[in-house]
Symmetry: C2
Subunit: 326 residues, 2 copies
């Protein structure tokens, strides 16, 4: 294994080449210049081998998921991503090939999302590989989306499909064996490679369409609970309205009990947001513009708590309040 | 042990109370508004139990060291500290009392340095406690100090005293037993609780006195090597000029072989910087103003590499190129 400085020079400095303020990673800290009139948005997420990913997971996908879960947090604030810093605690089994593949994954997503590596820290650990990424973005001052702005009567929307993340984890654990291979692969991919909805978040903020927003990481019901609590309201969603992928629909057809996994499981990284009824047409137009499904799933109301109702309006009890990454 | 949300609410949300953009830690990301005309400075450092600190180390001191090594990086850029995000991978042996003490340490240093907690992530690890802190600061645009600006003929200065960090680590490992207890305690304290030189860094940047700067974390010789490489120059320091604390002088008197530890060891977190000869009076005035010793130790010259010479101008070979935290 190379030493710290050689690892940085060979695999990480090239990822910082596009950022003059990263100084080729040969400095104590990095400098970025926010666009005038913008606030800086910052978020951090850690992933531990054996907890958040499996020892054999492809290093490039681990890198991209780490980056994307952070970008998803920026998306939920309506921010544009600028760059990131990365702290790696490398376990003894990590070799140079792993680092090379990991860095290649970062490079792929840097290109996809237009961001750069700004800095980092590389240390050794006798324990499992532990990766911490801090993403920096920016948003026009005063427009950042939060969880607390929902109002009674607001509609509740979600982007993309819900449940694929939790079902994908089941697939990777060897469950859902009766599903066709194509569906299994699709679900696993959705678990491993979230799609941060940056364009949607930015447009919702810039056009002031959303009153509250977050990304679905703890599970639809639990995350909606965060909006309800922070906005001091109740939320009611109609289970049949929740958008499901073809793969999730197929899984649900085989085992209706998976409805709870779909509504309560995490790792979807879709945007969940509220908007006044008057914004419906503008939201539909935005969804068309982005070629991204945005689906009405319920409504905010006075009160507290999250209710999920079925076709007949009967509440569905959700035993599992939400996925805890803790 | 409390769950993630309860831990955050009880121990960490109070640390974010002073930052409106932290949203009480109940949001996906945090927002900060840089002062207009300023660049944002970002740095990250990770610490692993058993590697960077010992399992029995007081949690409040671990917290404060983690914060201070990051603040020291901001100081080296001439930045003012604004806030930080914290990712914690908690090992099974960490209990609520540990977290409470850790958070109390953060609170003490938040008050001392005028910063706030902006956000974070809390996960579990089967391995050692792993802490990653990312600090954010700001500096007037165009004034950030870097490692690459030194010019031939520039003087080399260092703040405070050199060697206490490395000697303090020896004390904590049970070495240097012949030193008086007061000296031993002083060295251990310097290892455990660095003094980030924020006021000095900010003044050097604002008054444009320094041509290059960094903080001494890898060891005086190795860190000066970073400036030499990035500035494409040679550096020569006079060993007798290097400022030593009374404790380090006492240690050196007992064992002259410790000179190499002092010059090559790390963890001093003093500022090492270069400045043109014409800045000498202004630097002396600044040192007076801050009541912080700033000492001339050598000079930059054409060429490459770092030379350390003794009283007679004879080069001292340094076997250990520098402390590696990797």
């Amino acid at each position: 294994m190379l030493g710290e400085f050689d690892l940085i020079a060979r695999y990480f400095a090239p990822l910082a080449a596009g950022a003059p303020g990263a100084f080729g990673l040969a400095n104590d800290a990095a400098v970025i210049d926010p666009t005038p009139g913008h606030s800086v948005v910052v978020t951090t997420d850690a992933m531990v081998e054996g907890v958040h990913f499996l020892p054999g997971d492809p290093a490039d996908l681990v890198a991209r998921k780490l980056l994307r879960v952070n970008l998803s947090d920026l998306a939920a604030m309506g921010a544009r991503a600028r760059g990131y810093v990365l702290a790696m605690a490398l376990s003894p089994d990590i070799d140079e090939a792993w680092v090379a593949t990991f860095a290649r994954g970062l490079g792929v997503d840097q290109d996809e999302f237009g961001i750069v590596l700004l800095g980092g820290d590389t240390v050794k650990t006798p324990g499992p590989l532990t990766l911490t990424l801090t993403a920096l973005g920016e948003v026009p001052a005063g427009t950042a989306l939060t969880r607390s702005g929902a109002r009674a009567g607001d509609d509740i929307y979600v982007s993309g499909c819900i449940g694929d993340g939790a079902l994908g984890l089941k697939v990777l654990r060897g469950e859902l064996g009766s599903l066709p291979e194509g569906h299994r692969a699709s679900l696993a991919d959705r678990y491993r490679l979230p799609r941060p909805r940056l364009a949607l978040g930015q447009a919702l903020a810039a056009r002031r369409l959303a009153t509250a927003a977050l990304d679905v990481s703890d599970g639809l019901a639990a995350d909606l609970g965060h909006i309800a609590i922070e906005s001091d309201l109740a939320a009611e969603i109609e289970a049949p309205a929740v958008p499901l992928s073809a793969a999730a629909q197929a899984a649900l057809a085989v085992d209706p009990g998976l409805r709870e996994v779909i509504l309560g499981g995490g790792d979807d990284y879709e945007l969940l947001f509220t908007a006044p009824p008057g914004a419906a047409a503008a939201i539909a137009a935005l969804a068309d513009e982005l070629a991204l499904p945005v689906t009405w799933i319920g409504r905010m109301a006075p009160g507290a708590g999250v209710r999920v109702v079925d076709e007949a309006g009967v509440p569905i009890p959700l035993a599992k309040a939400g996925w805890s990454h803790f």
